[in-house]
Subunit: 717 residues, 2 copies
Amino acid sequence: MNCECCSEEHTDTADEMRSLFQPRTIAVFGASTNPAKVGYRVVENLLKGGYQGTIYPINPNGGEILGCPVWRSVGEISDDIDVAVMAIPARLVFDAVVECGNKGVKHLVVITSGFSEVGNIEEEERIVAYAREHGMRVLGPNVFGVYSDACSMNATFGPSGILSGHVAIVTQSGALGIAMIGKTAAEALGLSAVVSVGNKADVDESDLLEYLGRDDNTRVILLYIEGVKHGDRLARALRWVTQRKHVVVIKSGRSKRGAMAAASHTGSLAGADDVFDAVMKQSGALRAESVQDAFNWVQYLATAPAPIGKDAVIITNGGGIGVMATDACEKFDIALFDDQKVLKEAFSDVMPDFGSSKNPVDLTGQANAQDYEKALDAALNEENIHSVMALYCETALFDTEEFGRLIRKTYAQFKERKPILFTLFGGAKIEALVRELRMDAIPVFANVYEAVSCLGVLYRSWRNHQHARPAPASMSLPIERITEILRTAGKQQRGFLLAHEAAAVSAALGFRMPQSMVAANLDEAVQAAENIGYPVVLKIVSKDIIHKSDAGGVALDLQTREEVIDAYQAILRACRVYKRDAKIEGMEVAEMVRAGVETIIGARQDRSFGPTVMVGLGGIYVEVLKDVAFRAAPVDRATALEMIADLRSFPLLLGVRGEKRKDIEAVADVIVTLSHLIDQCRELTDIEINPLVAYDVGEGAKAVDVRILFQTPEEVR
Amino acid sequence: MNCECCSEEHTDTADEMRSLFQPRTIAVFGASTNPAKVGYRVVENLLKGGYQGTIYPINPNGGEILGCPVWRSVGEISDDIDVAVMAIPARLVFDAVVECGNKGVKHLVVITSGFSEVGNIEEEERIVAYAREHGMRVLGPNVFGVYSDACSMNATFGPSGILSGHVAIVTQSGALGIAMIGKTAAEALGLSAVVSVGNKADVDESDLLEYLGRDDNTRVILLYIEGVKHGDRLARALRWVTQRKHVVVIKSGRSKRGAMAAASHTGSLAGADDVFDAVMKQSGALRAESVQDAFNWVQYLATAPAPIGKDAVIITNGGGIGVMATDACEKFDIALFDDQKVLKEAFSDVMPDFGSSKNPVDLTGQANAQDYEKALDAALNEENIHSVMALYCETALFDTEEFGRLIRKTYAQFKERKPILFTLFGGAKIEALVRELRMDAIPVFANVYEAVSCLGVLYRSWRNHQHARPAPASMSLPIERITEILRTAGKQQRGFLLAHEAAAVSAALGFRMPQSMVAANLDEAVQAAENIGYPVVLKIVSKDIIHKSDAGGVALDLQTREEVIDAYQAILRACRVYKRDAKIEGMEVAEMVRAGVETIIGARQDRSFGPTVMVGLGGIYVEVLKDVAFRAAPVDRATALEMIADLRSFPLLLGVRGEKRKDIEAVADVIVTLSHLIDQCRELTDIEINPLVAYDVGEGAKAVDVRILFQTPEEVR
């Protein structure tokens, strides 16, 4: 089966990962009888968790641990070993890996720390290289282990008593991961899997997503990421998996200082946050700011039905909390149903005096439990209403217990049919009720913003599904011609292309550029101007004159033959004065570029995500206002248009103050082409067209200045 | 005593309000023996709460309620009555108010609803007018009552069992207010006062702030606002009170749709949210988005000591949670202490292996309780560290109970000296510990973002205190001259000034404008051009030609006498063609304005806040990017400069791409002048200078176009 997002065959990885999540046998290196040791805790957790396979504790001292016979080495075991967990000192790990290689072990889970995270990169690389050569995959090092509900395997030194469920957690932080497991049990959040990825020396999030995306037991995946390695693979894996499951991502190191702290903490590069954010959106992943938000989201997403439409209704017995929910709906992009006729019909029979059937439907503080129940039923039974947020402010008229009963009944009846969430606001009794209902996996909240944000992400995930785009079709580009230009330039020990080389690349890509030629003398210059058409620009061509304007080497807006002649002579004079011995190679005669809206298109190999593409509006919009949009490359035209529309300054391209709409499609085409180029030609490190001048619709866009940086194929990793 | 913020005498209001919060006697109209009635609940709450004054239940049926003798009318009571609570049907309220007037009651608390909130505005106005005439203040109508810790008075029909403390709540929403009271008890949040303001027909937030600002028992004030009336008074009151207390504001109706919902719910105008937000910042109030945030903040602010400096340190046993705290610090504007030398010295002795003494100080998961305690003590005893955030991820090495003991001990020891907050992340035991410690009013959180946001608002409030500015000095403006211009224009039934009138106002205010004069013939036009200096602009002057450019009635950038002559004739010809019978009054000859950075300065009477002032950068920055800054007027120069610096496009005024810094001070001066004008001259409804062109520093700014709208003094309320 080929992946629909990238036409690649992923099932190999998924199959390989299956034996990590569903091993028949597990060997535990460093198994110990000392309860303070990690090796003891792992065996204990495997036993307590009711692991369905066979456990082989390994310790040179032999003996017995918690009733299991201990083996002196993995070689002694006659059974095949799927997973070997390493809980031994760092200096002993390599030899153990060699033993495992000889034994034909499939997966190594290296709990041991003291590798790349403390600068010991070499040993980590040696272990991974050996393992890969001998057909083994390595999880870690520096992890707390792996839990898999599929075979009741708790191969971690974290808490026992993990609840079975539908959320998979993949975490880069060990300490936080262990604390998260504890928190899931406290919040009645059931898990299908937990994986600590640690230093990600081999297995990383992308590998795990291949398996989890195919695991029927997993409905929602929560990723905690500190630094991204191989971001292009991650983006691809996310794009594929988000078509199947909800994916919530927490990435710490959002802030500059946080990114520094993250880098020092894990030794991995924290990518620029704006690129990360853009790629997550593009990949359909839902990014949470805090663990609390992420927990709320995954808990809700694991149980909520897919919405059948966008229209939400708020039912409330308090106006104030209704207004706050409305504010939150705008923040979290939820459409409030607005058909007054339907609303009136649905609620007229159940509305108390003073109530309002407008959305938010306000039953007022005078509503009792019966009124509330009727209104809730009416909303849930109305087919034009697709999701319901029920709000309750504690009043004297309402018995809390009765409300608890009402929630249980209503939720049981409708939970498969419509997204529904409850927010209860009030005193100690209410808070106790909220806790009690949450422990029964009913989506009840004490904070209306939390409830609305959960519905918001459900809708976001739903929209991502609806508007999923296939991976962009491959694009045929003149890569040979471009590689040739790079090769020639590379011979001169340059990491950048000269103007005419960059122009040659642009021409090969079919970009429109201002017409231009180099004249050797005045006659040729005049002839060139006549051919190009006035107005033209003259520019000195000399390797000895870098700053042409400073040297008086540029003349703009020349309207006639005479002006060209005057300017030609004036430039030569000025340049002679500027640098007496400069070697003049000629005079560039170029079309004077008409004014339009200036855009900037960039493409680069991002440290974390590999090929990425960027668009912004030229000049101050990028420089001062930082108004840019990023995506992982390549992108298709629809995505390129979406990038442009993401800009705050987008209205300038739509035409303001009576101006015509600009040729947005032409700008999008350049984005698409550059995005494929940066993807196909990894020697290119940075391409920037600045400005790409966009003209009125139908008139295209011109690439005025193109800068290209590259590295030699050997430098490309 | 005069108020330092507005040199006004406020103590009258405060004295008046004192008898609402500390009444000697309370009459309850509608007191009832039926426990389902509000009139019963109020008497019951007064009794249960241990009200220190005398309660006089009033009911025409007489008898006895909960042991209190019932009076048939207020007139029968021989004692003076400070407060009369009305819990009677709307139609009976006016007569009761008349009775109270005769009796000399000081305050009416009208719980009864059915007035302006349902359109019955007239009756509400009649009640208030009568009350004010007879020396009574009215709280409400449509309220749940008032609670005051000062005399143990719970004159509400809400929950009993309110905890005594230092937070005052003023709420416009009844249902939410009652639920909030319940929540305070559930969260161990002690209250000094609660006031439901309902329809705010008379007493509003500003009156209450006068009292609460002077109440020693109140440390923090929480305002829940849906719509603002008399926003200028509110801003003034807030500016004064925020110098004494922390003020947290929740305003629902942030979103457009939410504002609509709020308007329909309370019948009051929800001001444009950006203006509200700007005025709150200007007033030193701390705006919370959700009730949950607000509760966290007030709870923390009520106990936290004032910081002695800005430098915060994070102590953590988990790298991941440390990184998230760092991210949150950037979001909430907290300075992380960065002196490596001091950090190293402070923590070197207490740091376990692998730990990092950089901030966040990471003790790693290998730290035990003793390590943690040492590090915490080191941070709290280091005088260069001004506040401490202690984070804990549940690990196997740590006993939860021991950590609870550590927190209690450390907090007790240092709570008066430094702001300190704890975040605990983990399973059921940890969550129980968090709840337990919170109930003892120790600042412990389960969510690191919540903890950091609390410290963030403490610092924000602290900075507001530090940088408090006195109210702007009064400014002498040529109001008479301006009023005269308005009077003349008003006679022509116009609500706007003509260009020359607006120019006259600008001139009176001392704004620099492009030179301009109207020529009656060609000779005069040439003479005018010579006087003004080239280049000039010609514009047709004719009441019959509105769209001058369309008529060919404008010529720009005329460089010589000859060009002026040609243009003059060409314009006349074109205008004759455009409209044969147009009456030509002359030709405006104006200075051609040099290019600079275009700004827009606006000033208007805001519906909610009265006089406000606005600045933005001209053209697309305002139109497309909505990049503007607001303040309540008047403002001083420092505030005007701060407004300019608030703009995203501010760097354009600082000079980009090698340009010189612009004359920001000249722009600020125009803001200051307009802000005083809109404040002093309430007939002016809208003033806009667009563009005000700012030149290089020292070269000033020119007001190119000034538009002024006004209403006649009779229309000004």
